[in-house]
């Protein structure tokens, strides 16, 4: 456990070094958030009755999504992992007395946490000062906030284990490009990154909410603005736990198979 913690620490401090990049990221994400909010405002003005959640809940959703982009942006995969699989450097890692799956998990969590820590506060603070209903609202209640934090961490873990699954699959395909494109597009769409899940028609939404993708950002962001009821919150968090276990198990299993039959392509 200690070695994974130090991997975590190493990556975390490394991630905190890129402050200028973080500033640029904050500006970009702020502009994107603003555009999204303006778009929803236009739809709201046209037909408020058809809106599935309140405008202020939607705005909160958008700002939180931008603030914690680094948690859930599956497209930010770690290129060095893919590179090491393609160019064979992975064999060095395999020589060490550690499980590469756990190590990848520790470092991915650390990278994403560090990115988010640098970026989320400026966005959240500025968004809090934007006039309602376009800014970020205070959480519905203290329990809601605590559940939000819990669900946020679970969602991060689900997103990371999902990425790990793609890394492990790259062992089998050698060129990770195709896999990556398909997986990333699916996640973007099904997780509510394109539009929040409540905006989908009910029959599609009820299926989408069961998929692992919905256990990433959707749950946490909707708990914050309390656009789901207490019963549903419990079920949604349980579902997050379920997918976390399933994805981890699948990843570890595949990883074991992959490592057993691994062929390092010379070089």
């Amino acid at each position: 456990m200690k070695k994974y913690l130090s991997f975590f620490q190493l990556r975390f401090t490394m991630g905190l070094q890129y402050r200028t990049a973080a500033l640029a990221g904050v500006i970009t994400q702020f502009a994107w958030g603003g555009m999204q909010v303006m778009m929803y405002r236009a739809f709201y003005r046209t037909d408020a009755a058809a809106f599935p959640m309140s405008l202020s809940a939607t705005s909160s959703y958008v700002w939180l999504q931008q603030a914690f982009l680094a948690f859930f942006a599956v497209w930010m995969m770690e290129n060095d992992i893919f590179d090491s699989i393609v160019n064979g450097n992975i064999s060095y890692e395999l020589c060490r007395p550690i499980s590469i799956y756990n190590m990848w998990f520790a470092r991915s969590m650390a990278t994403r946490l560090a990115r988010a820590v640098l970026r989320c506060f400026p966005i959240l603070i500025v968004a809090a000062f934007i006039q309602q209903p376009y800014g970020i609202d205070t959480p519905a209640s203290l329990p809601h906030f605590l559940l939000f934090v819990l669900s946020l961490i679970l969602g991060l873990a689900v997103a990371v284990t999902f990425c790990l699954l793609v890394y492990v699959l790259a062992f089998f395909t050698i060129s990770p490009q195709g896999l990556r494109i398909v997986f990333i597009s699916c996640v973007e769409f099904f997780s509510g990154a394109v539009i929040p899940l409540p905006f989908f028609p009910d029959h599609i939404r009820s299926i989408m909410e069961l998929l692992p993708f919905a256990s990433m950002q959707n749950t946490a962001l909707r708990i914050y603005s309390s656009s789901i009821g207490a019963d549903e919150i419990r079920r949604a968090i349980e579902l997050q736990g379920f997918w976390l276990v399933v994805l981890t198990a699948a990843g570890k299993l595949l990883c074991r198979v992959a490592v057993k039959r691994i062929i390092v392509q010379g070089g």
Partner: protein, 261 residues
């Protein structure tokens, strides 16, 4: 004439080069397609719920988005060399460009020709066809001209943004991520008619970065919301934006200090 021939030669080298890696080319093209397809799905499902947005229907929004996507895709395809220019400055490749007896803009343009954007363009064309068929516009010569002007003007505006992006690399050596707000952001903004975002946004996109000139105003003319011929020529007026971009680039080239590698 000679310049055009040389440029076409550059393009053909680039394409042949890319065709050596067919799978990679195909996958990247598919990826480009999927990325913008997701944006399309977002619009589609929004209109499952709402019948219109600020008076614009689904097919009208699609027409609008497809034109912007076409413009963006074309600009990206042609001016990709400027989009990835920071690499050229850092690696010292630009020194080699400067010593050759040819215009440096032509050489940078020719350094990359991103045919993979065909995935994005393909989708834009399909949406465009759908939008045109469904939105009950009576097409006549002025309207077709307006559409062509939109495409030309928009491509120029996005290309100019890539120019600015590249010119800034002369001073920073790094690509500036926040410029994405204007390039990718312009595409994101353009998926709905800009007028829906409110007055302030419309003013900004009219006078500062002329997205609205190539998207919103001519769209109003095409959809018969405005009848003045004045709106038809606004996309051409947007080409003024290329002048400051070009000046900034020239200024950058004059200040260029090789990174030494």
């Amino acid at each position: 004439m000679k310049t055009i021939r040389l440029y076409l030669h550059y393009v053909s080298i680039n394409i042949r080069c890319m065709m050596q890696y067919k799978t990679s080319f195909l996958l990247t093209a598919v990826g480009q397609f999927l990325v913008s397809f997701n944006i399309f799905l977002g619009i589609f499902f929004m209109f499952q719920r709402f019948s219109s947005v600020e008076g614009f229907t689904y097919s009208e929004v699609l027409l609008c988005f497809s034109v912007v996507l076409l413009e963006f895709g074309l600009a990206e395809m042609v001016a990709r060399g400027f989009d990835t220019f920071s690499g050229m400055v850092r690696s010292g490749e630009f020194d080699r460009v400067l010593v050759r007896p040819q215009n440096e803009i032509l050489q940078v343009l020719g350094s990359k020709f991103e045919l993979t954007r065909i995935g994005r363009l393909l989708q834009a064309v399909v949406m465009f066809a759908y939008g045109i068929m469904k939105c009950n516009v009576v097409w006549n010569v002025p309207k077709i001209c307006t559409l062509l002007f939109m495409l030309a003007g928009g491509t120029v505006v996005f290309t100019a943004l890539f120019f600015i992006y590249a010119a800034l690399c002369f001073f920073t050596l790094e690509g500036l991520e926040f410029m994405n707000v204007f390039t990718d952001g312009g595409r994101e903004l353009g998926k709905y008619p800009i007028g829906i975002y409110g007055k302030k946004m419309l003013l900004f996109t009219t006078f500062v970065i002329p997205y609205a000139l190539v998207q919103y105003y001519p769209l109003l003319y095409i959809l018969d919301r405005q009848t003045s011929v004045f709106y038809m020529f606004l996309p051409l007026a947007a080409c003024w934006f290329f002048i400051p971009a070009l000046l900034l680039w020239k200024f950058g080239v004059r200040c260029y200090q090789s990174s030494g590698s």
